[in-house]
Every structure is written in structure tokens, then in C-alpha cells.
Symmetry: D2
Subunit: 498 residues, 4 copies
């Protein structure tokens, strides 16, 4: 009625096919809003009952199908109800509501579903890392810095590192969940409504912890969306780093691990190829997440209430990345538990390229009383001379060390053969590192054991969050039952979950 | 000793002039590390005493100046000590340590300082918003969506929105602080050390809550840096939105606010110009923060331990943005408290462009019993007809509404003159919105009052965090005193703070 | 045969539904490759004829439908041919080819189609701007800097600015096209083939200007993809700026333009809303383009030949943005030609807020011989005094100017009433700016007339590029005809275009 | 005079210390503008002569030093002249000019300098790649896809790929230079001036090809800045890829190359470390460039003339990246010419991991008449069987191939021993690839020879561009000489270059 021309087709923004995973959230909001309108006496109980009955019919038809057919995107509920019951009844569903709160409620409920899946995925990956680590407490391998052999460590230590890193992602998303699981419902477009809406009730029926406390903020602020995109970006970056490690380790040159064939692809031209497809896709999510975040930040640039349609694309990206990351965590847990590790090859590499010689310097300090800097320089010269003459770590001798010491500190150091050998042994290197957080097997074992308890607690906590959502779903159905005078027959199509 | 050529000059990465604000963190770490080496018996007490005494001398000279002169960047402490005491003594300071933990300790202590400043800045801005909001509970103004007048609201409601938004930034940074304030010290480059380092002691002396629990993670994982960059990006985006609102409102066309001259600039050619320089700079930080985050994520791409120098630039950006955001929050609090608001102009605008007519539809539902959708369409037609004939909201009549109703629902609606007038009054519009989070003055007043308490709690919590850091500083000085056998004389140049 | 497990379902990367617009390019490459295999004697003519005949059958069925049914994504041609002719014949189509060149050929041909559409869209928008500008040579309006009224200009000058800006986009994309329209065909995965492929022939039949001159580069380098993403980002940023201008100008406060209703949306709650949906969507593409570029750059990070699957998502984004930008240019040209301009309101605004006073300073220099800086300061004081006392530009007098001069230069300046009035007239301000590129109507008229010729040349040049592609399509069909011994019957389903 | 409070210190945007490399451009513009003001009679010749004389004095003092002392940033020229000559004379230098064109002129001249340096750097790198390639036409090595051994190629082919890639960067920057080297001078803030400025003359004296043709565009459009940032991003991404290849190749596991020690760093804890510092820093520029581009795009978001100060940070970033990229290209050329290649190790790797078996499939097609898909599957099974039984490419036999063929095609293929051996020889693999762009030594040699000519032409073209700038500098000095009545005495401090 307001405008005089039909909107151009490419402007059509209310399309059901773009609701994607949020369709069920929209449906639940329709029901919860109607329940509240009845309880507050804003709409006559019999009108609400008629509308809820029709929505129950829709569920029997198939909510997604029925909403797709009737069109209207987030307004498909109203379209359906007007189609079935006429405008005089169906035209009451949107009382006190706006596209604004429909979008924001659907956004938060949908993201909530992804976040819960990701939290479960994180506990799965962390569990797999604990398992891998415990099985490899003694699997010595080279640690790298600047891409070069730095010092020996163990695969167990590596696994424990990623376990700790993913535990931070868990903390971040858990903390974010508290800001996320708040209800915009009733905020309409920015001022709420002059109808006496009960925002707490709708929040409760949709599984939210509470209503957002400022209606303009509920619709116009999108920092939460950026926070979610950020949290996914940071998490995806850690996944990508782990994937990059495994891709490198599965090159012919490193050959530390062999991936299960089901995670690999081959080539249409090169018959020998076994490509790490799964790891490449896992890694790929990091770039998509960052791109989504950049898109979100730039889309929101501008005065309050100016960028509205610009936000739509961000939402699609966010949902796509949310789904991807959840899926990749599940895949990663499986891959970590089933890949084959070549511990012998790792161990051989650990001592082949001088990674252990930090401890030759330490030995000079401890045993021979030389200061650290002189010890370090002495060993540096030893390595340089050996490299120049093509001698390997297994071939160098205490005598060569003395020669180097002669050049650096002016006299031989006289490190005994046993001390020399102990200093040059990568396994002993690792065993000596018993300090907090170090790679000594007992130390890593203790940390992984401690982690296992944390993971169990985290898993239980996610279960509690899911239960709260499921319990809200059941309460909503009970209220609908009471209003329509009949049980739902177990239909769950309008579930609050995802 | 290891390499045979001098490094190219542009490769020099250990430069004191690039340490920036982290120089004092490096200095404190030098001292805490020495204290620990003595307490663990790794270095002789008299050697440690000599080195600590020299560092106290350095403080008297001026730590920044002395370290700049001696060069070596994060290794300037060792350079200085070797220069003063010879390699046989000064060469012992780095025992059990690496560039790795030097960098990471300095990074975290420096960021900690910025985060504390930003938390203080956030409480200042939130306090200013509470003040502005309470002073403008009745200042009716247009609320916007899609850049168009949407519905009347108040400046108080707007201020309350930003107060809530900034409280989320506070939560995010506070939550981040728990992950941030953990000590990498003793992790060396990735495996710690075979010297019996006491990581807990060093952590305590540097004001950290605890040591990080995996030494490889402590050096190689940089998710925390991305999290900080993300948190700054999200916060800066909210600052930018607020700035964009005020920039728009200070255009000649809007003219809702007049900025204090000290926040403005003028022009070298246009004598009349009063430019909102301060707001533009505040807004600018958002782009820099996002750019920094993008740079951080891309720099870290690759297998564990491969990207090392790539990280350096990220750090500079992060520090620059950390400083900027803190400064802008302080400026913003000042600006919000001192800008002039033209409440009369805002109020006049609130009802001039039909923003109030959502409630004319509501009135049709409530008073005349029409369904929402029909009511909405009736009013839409009214607005279209009035717009086409050049009539303003102040001019339309219940008769014109009846005419529109005739076209839409087939009969007049008969809304009385009083109801019509109440529905068309923007002030009444706002007063009717008493629902949770709505713009009704009492509602906003209650929320702002509640916020004031939260802000006081937040301010107190930051004070406690700062006290913990200051207390660690004092403890470090006491231990140094004990080892050198003399009090520091109150020197604070090596402070743990920033 | 190579691997022992079925690939996980979520790893399936060869899916026809992800080919999108590149499906027809794949089809054309299948045909051109077969023609070349026959002409080089690599596959027997009768085998090639059988395969080409089958592909002609596929076209009659509907290429997209048939390929979707048979699956295999870019390998759907081979799947189809093996299904119809058995492996002994159909298994020959991929001789000397790899997924590598299939992907790259399809990518370039698909992007080529978008670039040609965008070049046409650019000429349309530039044409519309010329029209708008010529109709508004005298439409004086405020020009802004720092969001404040800076100096008077005209809408014609504004239109001419965007015409020039879009001409640079045209140049960039035209220059990019020369690097884009080169053929990767025959590069296989990185070394080409030991079959005697004729790369020039395939290039010609697919409408490319020439083959790429290094086979590893053809597959492994993706700088071109980044360049295209960059060019779209820059172009989309200019579209977004123009959209931002019009969004601002269509606010109630500015009200300089009124958008056609077909480019607008309304609200489900606010009956009065007329939202600039079309402009918001146009603006939105800029963020998506930048996000796509960020995604592309990060996806490609790594050693040559390592990131392969990471690239896939980039391609989707690039194609989506390519389509969006083309569509938005067409929409923008329509909008520019049909929006209503309120020239009277613009003109009134031009002199209301002191934008003209740069020329009052000039007058003091020219007429009164005062130096520029003193003149500027004198007028600055005049504006300040007038603002403080609430006097408007229309109210100030030469006497007030003399008073300000007294304070600044120590004596009155004595500017006559006529000179004063001329200096304070925004229309005269504009008319005086006859310098190259300035807003004087004759100057803008000359530039727009000159632009019209350039646009015609540009349009003609795009037509020539399209003709070259169409001519290659026809040549391909002629060669197929010759091999299968029958004309195609006019089928164009396998067109080389898009 | 306009404002009533002193600006806050952190708002000070006109600071000489932030002019960086643009200071000399500002200086040259001051001089060229004065020359033009005199020639057009806008300022009296004697006033201009006095000012030019003072600027010549400034050059003798040291332009950078004098401008830093007098302060005022881009307005330091005016500050200096007023300080020396009083406002009545020195206050005339800014006649007809604004901060707007000062900023834009300085930006373009500064970027021009970087682009010229980068173009020279590109020819140096391309020359080094030609040299490296020609020296390694027969250096067989593995080519990779998905990080796995794909097919044998040569180091010469690899070098030729990067030569081609960098030639596209050259084209992009050369094309960009045409849009870059246009003069904003005389555009003032957006409308030019009512003084009769000669924009062509100033353009000529500053070495620009022509004035920009719309004064609003000259100041307000920043697409060029984004284009430059994009071009640097794409170029830096290619540098980063090359660096990533060499970093990987210099791992202990690959060990294909050994870097000159001067490009490397060592460790403060690990005595053996030789870190590829130079390559890491080269790689690092890619992230900084992308971050800069993101910052630029987001900074410019908004209506025309609104984002002004937001742009300042972009400029700093752009200049930093411009300098970095130029420097890295020079370093890269040196590194490529001086690194040691282990051709024997590369060659051994080329055949060790089945990279050659694409040609075993080809042989089955060519010699045995089997279709490609069956041949490919046969060889795939051969590789799988051999891998499972631990047999290497050097160990497999024609009999094993027949066994695989039996399983796949139902009968042995009978490939003779000589054909089998030829198919399995990586050197022969490469030699067979004589197609356009392939790795056969003669083919690569021809391409590199052709490239050498192109590079010479490119180098000559850059020389011509530099000469044009230098010639403008001389002409400016001649005009200054004429006005001040004395030669400059060879001072070049005000040079137009960089």
C-alpha cells in the first residue's frame, strides 16, 4: 500500500530459500509469540488457538516444505496463516513484532545450534588429542622454529599443545554463549511495542537465558555477530595450523604420518596421487572465516540503523562457516584417531640435524662451569665446522668440541664421553625436560590426564546447555497444547534447537 | 660463530628501537629471571648479585636510554651486562632462556597494560553514557532503520544502547584477560630447559596469574594475539558506530549536536570549516584494528614453528591499536560529557516524517479491533496519499484515515480525535513503551541506574587487577634487594606494569 | 584403484552442482579438446566423432541437466561418454588433460563472461551519469568535506566525478582482460603432456587470445584471480560510495533525491517506511568483494602446488561477486536515469551554511590586496562571530566583515557591496570555477561531452571482444560439424560465452 | 580564528614527522605552485621571488631539518615563509590551494617513487630468474600438487614460471602508473579555485603526465590508492609464494637449496640454528600489504567527502609497504643469484615417489592402444600394490604392470622393457614435454631467452619514465632560477623524484 511500483525482482529479500537453517527458529518464534499474545490478552484466545492449530497442521505437512510453498521468507508463517484463516485472523500473528526481531531471534537461535555443535566437536578433538598424546609420550620427534630443526620434543607434547589451544577456543565460545543466548524477541525494530508484550516469557519459551535489556541494542548492535565470526576465525586458524602440520608431515620428504585413505583424494591424470583432501578442506575454513569477519565488519560500517540489508550476506557466511567448522572438528577427531604415525622415522629425524645441541651447551655450563654465552658460541662453532666438513651429529667427538672451545674460550673444556653422549641423545634431551609444561613423558602424561578431566567436565556442561534448550522446546509445546486443547502428537518439527 | 657472513642490515631484527612499550617488560623479565636463577642455584648468588646491581645502575642511568645505547633489542640486557661485567659473568643472564620466551613474555605484559587501560577507558565511556542518558530521558528523537525515520525514541535510550554494547566489550576483554595473564617464561623456544627453572616463581614476580601449561604452546600458539586483535576490532567497531552517529548528527542537515571546538579542526582554505576531527580519528581505529587482525591471521598461516619473523609486524600493529583505542575511549568520554545537544531540534524531527505511525496502526488494532495486517495497510495507504498530496503528519485527520480504511478494509474505522492525536504524538509514543528495554523514560532510567552499579563494580575489579600487578612489582624489588643486599631506593624504572 | 577406502562424503569435491556458471565452459573445452585430439592424430577420428556426436546428443537433452544427472562435476563429460560409449571409447576424452587445466580453463572463461558483462554495465552507468550531469550543469549543491559543507558545486560536477572514476574501473578491467583471456588448456597439472597437444588450436577454439606461456604457471599461479578480485573490490567500492551518497541524500534530513519506488522496500511494522533497498544491496557488494579477496589471498598462502582445494571456495565467491557487480551496474544505470532530483532544495542548501566563503577570502585578496592567509583568517572570524550571534550567510554585511578585519589585520578592508554579494552567491561561486576540471557549467559540459565519445568507443570495444568470442564459438561448431559429418542444427548449448 | 578552543594534542594531524617520504614532494609543490602563481600574475613576481629565494635558503639549511623545526606538516612551507617574510608576503604561498591538493599531490609523487623502484626491482628479480633458469634447464626435480609429488619438472621450468608471474606484476604496475601519474594540483579541496590557476603548468613542473580532469574526483576519489594497494598485495603474494618454496626447500627434510649466510639468522639458545630470516621477512610483506588494503577499503567507506582523516593511516601503511616491497625485490634478486642448489638431491627425489607414472599411463595408450582411463587405472593399481609391498619405483617391473592390467583390463599389456624404462625415467619425462610452455630444456630455454628481451625492454621503459621525472625537476629549477634571478647552485633537495 505504501509504494506505487512492484519491487524489482533482484531486490526480493524475503525469500524462504534464503532462510536456510533459521527456518525452524522462525517457526518456533511464531508459536512462542502467539502463546505470549494469548497469555497477555493481546489477541483473543480463540484466534491464537486457530493460528496455533494451523501451525500444527503445517508441521504435519512438513514445515520447510509448507513455508517454501507459501513464500515470504521470515514472514512465511503470516503468509500461511492468512492463506488458511484469512487476514482477519491470520493478520494478527505479527502484532507487536517486526522483521527486526524475527531476523535477530532467528540469527541467535541458529548460531546457538552451531555453537553447541562446535563445543561438542571441540571436546571430541581434544579427546582424540589426549588419546594420541598418551600413546606417543615417548615418540621423540624434531620440534621446529623458523622451519628449521630447533630441539627434540615428542608427539605427545605436540598433541598436548593443541589440546591446550583448543581448550582456549572452548573457553572463548563458552564465554560468547553467555552473550549469545539472550533474546531479542519483543524488541520489534528498535523500540519494542506499545502492546504489553511479555519479553521474559518468549525468551523462556525459546530457550534463551533472558531478554536483551535494551530494545535498540537488540536490533541495531551487531558486535555479537562479529564476536562469533572472530571466535570462529581464531578456532579455524588453529585447525588450519594443525592441518598444515599434518599436510607437511604427510609429504614424501617428511613422511611422519600416513593418512587414512578415506580422507584422501586421487587424480584424474596422475595415477599415483594420494592427496590430503580432508586436511586441505579443514584448512580452508580459516580463510572463509576471516573473509566472513571482514565482510561483517565492513557491512556494519555506518551510523546506527543505516546498514540493514548489508547485514544479510554476513549472516549467510556466518552460518556456512559455523556448519563447516563443526563438521571439520568431527572429521579431525576421526582423522587424529585413525592416522598412522611413523614413530621410528620421527625419532631418527630428531637427532639427525643438530636439534639436540642446546643441551651440549647446557652441559658445558653445568659440567664445565663455563658461562652460557661462551658455551653457546663454542657449540655453534662445533656445528659450523662439522657442517663444513660434512660430519653428522653421530660422528662428532668430544675432541672436536675441545677444538672449538679452544677457538672460543681459549682452552679445551674436557667434557667426558658419557656426558657428551648424554647431551647428544635426543631421547635423553626430552627426558631431562621435566619442568612444568615440558616434553618429559611423565610431565606430558600428567598434563594429558588432567586435561581428560577438564574435557569430561566440558562435555557435561554442553549437555546441560542442550538440555536447557530441549526443556524449553517441551515447555513451548505444552503451552501450545493447552491453548489448542490437544497434545502435539509428538511433532518436533517446530523444535527450538536447530 | 654459526654463520660465515654478517647478516644483511635490513634483516636486523633485534633492534632496541622496535621494542617500543615492551622494553620495560623485557627489563623486568631480566630481573625476575636472575632472581629465579639464584634461588634455584643455577647461577652462583654472587654472579646474580653482580648482574642485578648492574641492572639497578642501568635504571639510574635510565633504562630506555641505556638499552638503546647498548643495542641488541630484547637482548640489550645481556649486551649491557657483558659490557659491564664481561662474558664470564654477564654471559650467564640468558641461561635457560630463549628469544622465544623473551618475546612472548614482553608481548603479554605489554598487551596486559593496554587491556587494563582500555578497561578503565570503557568504564569512563559507560559512565559518560549513563550521565548523558539520565540527562536525556525525555529527549525524544527519531530512531532510524535503513537510514530512514523508523520510530521515535529518546537520546537516553540511544545512550543506554551504547552503554550495554560497551559492557559486552568489557566482558570480552575481561574474559580474554584470564587467558592473557599467564606466563610463557621458562618455555624458552618450545621445550623449556634442562636447567631446573622455577616457572611459577617467575610468573609470580611478573604479575602473571600462573604459568602456561605447555611450553610449546607458550611460544608457538598465537591464538591469543588473534583474540586480542578481534576484541579490539569489535570494540573499535562500536566506537566507530557511535562516532558515525555523532558525525551524522553534526552535519548541517541533521544538526542534532554541536561538538566542543577542542575536538574539531578547521581548514587552510575554507574559513568556515569546523571539522569533527576527533570523531574521525576515533572511527579510524576500527579499520586499523581489522587490518591488524587480517595481518595477524595471515602472518600465522603455516605449520607450527614456521612463521616466526612474520609475527613481528603483527605485534607492532597490535600495540599501536591497543594504545589508540585506550586513548580514544578517554577522548570519547570527555566528548560525550561536553557536547551540546539540540533537544528541541531532535524533538521536532521525531514527528515530522511519519515515524510515529506504527502506533496509529496499533490504535486501530486496540481501539477498533482490526487485525494488525489490515491496520498496517490502512495506515500505509494514508501515508502514501498524504505524501502524494504534500500533507504533513501534523495535517492529516481522522477523516483521511477513514478514507484509507475504506479502500483497504471496506469501511471507515472511526478512530476518535483524542485517540488519533495520542497515536500521532511522538512523546506519547515513547511514553507508551514501558516494556523491558523500551524507551519509556522510567524504563531507561531504571536500566541506567542498574548500569551505574555494574560500572562501579567493573571499575573496582580493574583496580584489583592493577593492584595485583603492582604488588608483584614490589615483591620483585624486595627479592632483588635481598640478593644485592640493598634497597632499590625507590627506583621503579623496571616496573612490571607498562 | 589407488586408494582402499571410499572417500568421506563431505570430501566429494567433483560435484556438478558446484560448477555453477562454469558448466558450459567445461562443455566447450570437452569439445575443443576432442577436436584437437583428432586433428593431432592422438585419438582416432572415428572415436572422436563418436564422442562429439554423443556430446551433441547431450546438448539436445540439455547440457546442464544431462551433466547434473551423470555427476562427476568437471568430469561429467567423461562420465557421460563412458556411460554412453564404454570406457574403450569414452575413456579417451581425458587423454593429455588433467583436472588442473579443466578448472583453470573453466575459471577463466567464466570470469571472462562476467568481465564482459561488467564492462557493458560500466558503459551503461557512465552513460547515465553523462545524462544526469548534462541535465544538472546548473544544479548548484553543497560539496562536502569531513561531512561538513565545504564549497558549492553542482550535481553535474558530481556526476562527472563518478563518470571519471568508473572510466578508471573500465581501464583496469580492460587491462586485466588482456592477462585473463589466455588459455591454460594443455597445461594439464603443471608440465603439460607427452602427447603432442596443440595448445594454440584449443586456445583459438575457446576464444582465448593465446596460450599461457608456461604450463606450471598456467595451473599454479593465481595472481590473476587476486587481480580480478581486486578490480571488483575497487569497482564495488566506488559503487558503494555512490550508493552512500544517494542513501544520505534520500534521508529525510537531506532530501536531495527521491528514489523510484521499484528500488525500495517497506516494513512489516512501520507503515510509512520507504527503504532504499536497492542502494543498500549495491553497497553490500563492496564488502563481499573485499571479503572474497581476503579469502583468495589467504587461501593461496603456501608453497607452489600446496594449496589446491583451498582455492575452490574463492572461485565461488569470485563468481558470486562477478554476477552481483554486473547486475548492480545495470540497476544503477536505471536508478540514475529515473530518480527525482530536488534541485531547489539542493540550491537552497548550497549557501545556507557558509560553504561559499572561500570566495569571500579570495575577494579580499583580489580586490583588497590582502594576502591569502590574512584574508582567510578575517573571514574565519566573521563566520565565528556570525555563528555565535545566530546570523546566517544571508544576513551578514560588509560592515561585519570590516569589523572582523579590524581584529585580524588592524583595519577595515572596504569590500564593496557588489563584490561582497558576488562573493556570497553560491551560483556565482560555481560559475567562477572555469579552470580545468572545475564545476563551472561550460567546463563540466565540455568534459561530459568528451566522456560521451570515450564511452561510445568503450562500448564498441566491448562489442569487438564479444564478437571474437562468438566467432570462436562458431569456428568450434564448424570443426565439430566436419568431424561428425553433420551440422549442429544451430545448437548453442555448448557456447564458449557464459 | 574560527574555533574557540585549542585543539586537543592527540588530534594534531599536521605534523612534519608524519610526512615521511612525502616531504620532498610537498617542497617541490610549494615551488611549482609559486612559479605558476607568478606566471599567471596571481601573486606579484617580487613576492614570488622572495618566497622562492627563501625556499632556496631552506634547501641550503636542509629541507627536512628546516621543515621539522618550523612544524606544520604539509603546511611547513607556509610556516617557514611567514616566519621569514611575514604574513604579508609568506601568507601568499597558499593562494588557490588547499590541504586537499597538497595531500593528494604528495601522495601521488611519493607512490610514484616507490612504483619506479619496484619496477626496477621486478626487472632485477626477473633477470635473476632467467639466469637461474638457464643454469638449471636440466635440473630435474619433483613438481608438487596438493603438497604431494605430482610430476617431474625442472628448476628451470620453475624459474620460468615465476619470471612470467612477475612480468604480470610489471604489467599491472605499469598500467597503474598511467592512472597514477596525473596531477591533482589545482583541485584545492574539490572545486579548484576562482583564481586563474594553470593546472597544466604545475602538472608539467612536477613530472605528471597531465592534470586529473575533474577537481572533485582529484581529491575525493581514492580508488587509485586501493588499486596501488591491490597491486602491491598481488605482487607481495607472489614474492611470498616464492619465499615459501625456498623456505620449504631449505628445510632439513627437503634440503634442495642452501641459502647464503647473510640472508640468515641464528638463535640465542640453539647453537646450530640457521634461520631463513630474509625469506621470512620477504614473505611477511604480503600480509602487511593485504592488511593495508583492507584498512584502505574500510577507511574510505562512506559518502563522498565524509572520510577524510580516516585516510591518513592508509597512506602510512601504503608507503611502508611500498618501501618494503622495493627492498625485498632487490634482496630477492641477490638471493636467487647466490643461493646454492643441490641439483643431485632434487634429481634423486624426482623419481623416488612415483611422480613419473603419468607417462607410464601414456605409454600404455600410445604403445598398447589402451584407452586413457583404463591405462590410468592400471597404473594406479600398480602403484598401490607396490606401495603396500614396500617396493620402490626403481624396483617395479613390467611383469607387475601386467599383473595390474590383468585386474583392471582383463589381460596383460605387454609393455616392453625399453618402453617401461623410458616411461619410468624422470629425465626422459621432462625431455618429452616439448609442447608450448612445457619443461623440456629447449622449450624453457626458448622462453627464457624471449623473456630476456622483454626484461631489457621493460628496464629501458622504466629508465624513460625516470628521465621524464628528472627532466621536470630540471625544468622546475630553471623556472625558479628565472624568477629569483640566480641559478640554484645545484641544490637538489627539492627534487621531484623521491
Amino acid at each position: 500500500m505504501r509504494l506505487t511500483e512492484a519491487q524489482l525482482p533482484w531486490l526480493e529479500t524475503h525469500r524462504t530459500d534464503t532462510l536456510g537453517p533459521s527456518l525452524f527458529a522462525i517457526h518456533a518464534f511464531d508459536k512462542a509469540h502467539l502463546v505470549m499474545l494469548a497469555e497477555r490478552g493481546i489477541v483473543e484466545p480463540e484466534h491464537v488457538a486457530a493460528m496455533l492449530t494451523a501451525l500444527r497442521d503445517m508441521e504435519r505437512e512438513g514445515t520447510a516444505k509448507a513455508r517454501a510453498e507459501v513464500g515470504g521468507g521470515m514472514h512465511s508463517g503470516e503468509h500461511y496463516l492468512i492463506g488458511r484463516l484469512g487476514e482477519a485472523i491470520g493478520g494478527r500473528v505479527h502484532t507487536g513484532r517486526s522483521s527486526g526481531d524475527l531476523i535477530e531471534v532467528a540469527r541467535r537461535m541458529t548460531i546457538r545450534g552451531y555453537v553447541l555443535d562446535i563445543l561438542d566437536g571441540l571436546t571430541a578433538v581434544r579427546g582424540a588429542l589426549v588419546g594420541l598424546g598418551l600413546a606417543n609420550l615417548e615418540s621423540v620427534m624434531p620440534g621446529y622454529s623458523h622451519g628449521q630443526h630447533a630441539q627434540p620434543t615428542t608427539l605427545g607434547h605436540w598433541a598436548a599443545m593443541f589440546q591446550v589451544a583448543f581448550s582456549r577456543d572452548h573457553d572463548r565460545l563458552r564465554s560468547c554463549y553467555r552473550r549469545l543466548n539472550l533474546s531479542p524477541a519483543g524488541a520489534a525494530i528498535l523500540t519494542g511495542s506499545d502492546f504489553p508484550l511479555d519479553r521474559e516469557l518468549v525468551a523462556t519459551l525459546l530457550g534463551f537465558d533472558a531478554p536483551l535489556r535494551n530494545t535498540m541494542d537488540a536490533i541495531m548492535s551487531h558486535d555479537l555477530e562479529m564476536e562469533v565470526a572472530s571466535a570462529l576465525t581464531v578456532l579455524a586458524a588453529t585447525i588450519a595450523r594443525l592441518a598444515d602440520d599434518l599436510i607437511l608431515w604427510s609429504t614424501a620428504e617428511f613422511a611422519f604420518v600416513d593418512l587414512p585413505d578415506r580422507f584422501c583424494g586421487t587424480s584424474s591424470i596422475m595415477p599415483q596421487k594420494k592427496n590430503p583432501d580432508g586436511l586441505e578442506l579443514m584448512k580452508s575454513a580459516a580463510g572463509q572465516a576471516l573473509a566472513g569477519l571482514v565482510g561483517a565488519v565492513i557491512a556494519e560500517r555506518g551510523p546506527t540503523g543505516f546498514p540493514i540489508l548489508e547485514r544479510r550476506h554476513t549472516q549467510d557466511t556466518l552460518w556456512a562457516v559455523g556448519a563447516l567448522v563443526g563438521q571439520h572438528l568431527t572429521g579431525l577427531a576421526d582423522l587424529l584417531m585413525s592416522m598412522r604415525v611413523d614413530a621410528a622415522r620421527m625419532a631418527a629425524a630428531a637427532g639427525e640435524h643438530w636439534a639436540q645441541v642446546t643441551d651440549l651447551s647446557s652441559a658445558l655450563v653445568r659440567v664445565c662451569g663455563i658461562d652460557w654465552r661462551s658455551a653457546h658460541q663454542t657449540v655453534a662453532l662445533l656445528v659450523r665446522r662439522a657442517t663444513e666438513s660434512g660430519r653428522s651429529p653421530a660422528q662428532v667427538t668430544p675432541e672436536e668440541l675441545d677444538a672449538a672451545a679452544g677457538e672460543v674460550v681459549g682452552h679445551p673444556v674436557g667434557l667426558g664421553a658419557a656426558d657428551f653422549a648424554a647431551a647428544m641423545d635426543p631421547r635423553a634431551f626430552v627426558r631431562r625436560r621435566t619442568l612444568l609444561g615440558g616434553p618429559a613423558p611423565d610431565q606430558v602424561c600428567a598434563e594429558l590426564t588432567r586435561a581428560r578431566t577438564e574435557i569430561n567436565d566440558a562435555r557435561e556442561e554442553v549437555r546441560v546447555l542442550r538440555d536447557a534448550v530441549a526443556s524449553a522446546e517441551r515447555e513451548l509445546e505444552r503451552r501450545v497444547d493447552a491453548l489448542v486443547g490437544a497434545p502435539s502428537g509428538g511433532a518436533t518439527a517446530g523444535g527450538v534447537g536447530r
